[in-house]
Symmetry: C2
Subunit: 352 residues, 2 copies
Amino acid sequence: MIPQKTFVSPKIIFGRGYLKKLATVLLEEKIGNNIVYFIDGFFTNSGFEKVLTFTGNELFFYVDTKEEPKTEDIDKFVSNIKESMTSQSDVIIGIGGGSVMDVAKAVSILLTNAGLAEDYQGWDLVKNDPIYKIGIPTLSGTGAEVSRTAVLTGPKKKQGINSLKSMFDYIILDPELLQTVPKEQRFYTGMDCYIHSVEAINGNFINNFSHAYADKALQLCEEVFLGNKGDDDLMIASMFGGYSIVYSEVGVCHALSYGISLAYGIHHGEANCIVFDQLDEYYPQHVQLFRKMLNKYGIQLRKGLTKNITPKLLDKMVDATLLMEKPLSNALGANWQDVFTRKKIKELFLKM
Amino acid sequence: MIPQKTFVSPKIIFGRGYLKKLATVLLEEKIGNNIVYFIDGFFTNSGFEKVLTFTGNELFFYVDTKEEPKTEDIDKFVSNIKESMTSQSDVIIGIGGGSVMDVAKAVSILLTNAGLAEDYQGWDLVKNDPIYKIGIPTLSGTGAEVSRTAVLTGPKKKQGINSLKSMFDYIILDPELLQTVPKEQRFYTGMDCYIHSVEAINGNFINNFSHAYADKALQLCEEVFLGNKGDDDLMIASMFGGYSIVYSEVGVCHALSYGISLAYGIHHGEANCIVFDQLDEYYPQHVQLFRKMLNKYGIQLRKGLTKNITPKLLDKMVDATLLMEKPLSNALGANWQDVFTRKKIKELFLKM
């Protein structure tokens, strides 16, 4: 195994209004006629079907993103596609936020690999080449558009399909698609990029490659959320933040935030913010800047979440945190257990 | 045609000593046994053959890089390979500076496409898939390791084989390989990155994608050549600089520097420096910083090149400059001819 490598989608186009280039991309890439769309449920009545019907052999799925995608959702989409299309689908197109990206990635794999989605959660378990896929993000910050994983919640675990075959073949970055994102969601998802870049750049695993990407991602986030830069730069920040964690790892915030999501069903971006606000001890300067951004955006974080928590639930959250060995080694060193004790973790959770 | 797109090599690994991972890469990528190396002539007696013989079916070519590669060189390499190897070669590996990168790219194409190298100079003329190729730069700044072109001098013109099929399939970035680069060459090649990033970021064609890459490339160059950053960051700067011009264009400096190279046979990096030193009018702040770098590195630029120039040669250099329409539009706008006149160009050349 090569320990550290970057694998990126080789084809990216960037520009306002570039969604309109999709038809040209399909022609140039010599893809067939059977097109399957996964579109964020947010756009259900936005008239996308009219704009995106090119061949007449399109299938449109609107993905409910209230909850993050489950393996059983993928299995249902796959059997639905197999029933609905007379021949093999030629291209999968995901238009949406991180969840929709993950659905498109996973379906493209399961259409050509037998079994259930849960069979492929893990590292490099995918055998056959997937269906050609195109990612068109409408929300920026997760980095899912450039990552090599499709995160799914299965019956046994929440884990990604980590595989080169999860990567999009083509990415269209169109900043105009960000203009309808609700303010709070834009903030929380943008902060996902900010926080994983902070964790990468302050971690032990960082190298010069990741550092360059993380540093620029942070600068762009600060210019977007504290200065006057807009969606174009937020979209680039998301891409750079995604690249920055290829060679690095997340840190203390992600280790704790999974516990918050697990216990309270709070989405990843918001959970990260709730946790990050308590991490002055680990990321002092960036937490200060984060609070400035919160103020500037008028975002009120939920408080007192754990006020009436039962000892049992608190223990479960601590257990989930302690499983995050790689992020915690990255943040605190090989002997992280000496300083990041159950007691310490509980104290942090009880502040939230 | 999609006007603006980024196509990048999807697989990059970065780290000190990573040349040693080549054997693992060949195994993991399931490449066959017939390996053709193009290695910078600089390394002729460096013992690379011993380290890089894995299968016994290797061919080693040491590339003389005193002059930039010609199409006839490529044709000779190709017939030599076809005579020497009993079966088709499986992988082409380029280890060297920009010229060696270009040779490896071009040979990989000509091994599977009939005719002569000069037949493919231009845009998207390559039909068949090339031989799998790996780029391992030993000099940083040109961006050739990530670009989609293989620049060649042919009987009719100097032009690249501009094609997706010119791109490396795999790139190994090992900063240790930079440690033997002579000081002046390191400076001039590094400045190639600095100058094309300056031209990109100050041009009219820039977008947010290129801007982020160019801005970070400039910052890294300044930290390397004015601060205390080293080869690791120079290597990343080169990659970022290469990406920055995908969506942009070069400018006034490159438009003039081809004339200098043409007339005096001066290598691209050095020619750029000689020109850039006279461009306060166009890139004032960056020229100031460039002079600080010159001083810090104790580099003495050649002076008085055009002191005894004949009117005929000067006219030829002006003609070559005026052909550079795209860089000049990028730098000076659509009406560049109104301000960048023959008289103006002559004045600039006569300062060099």
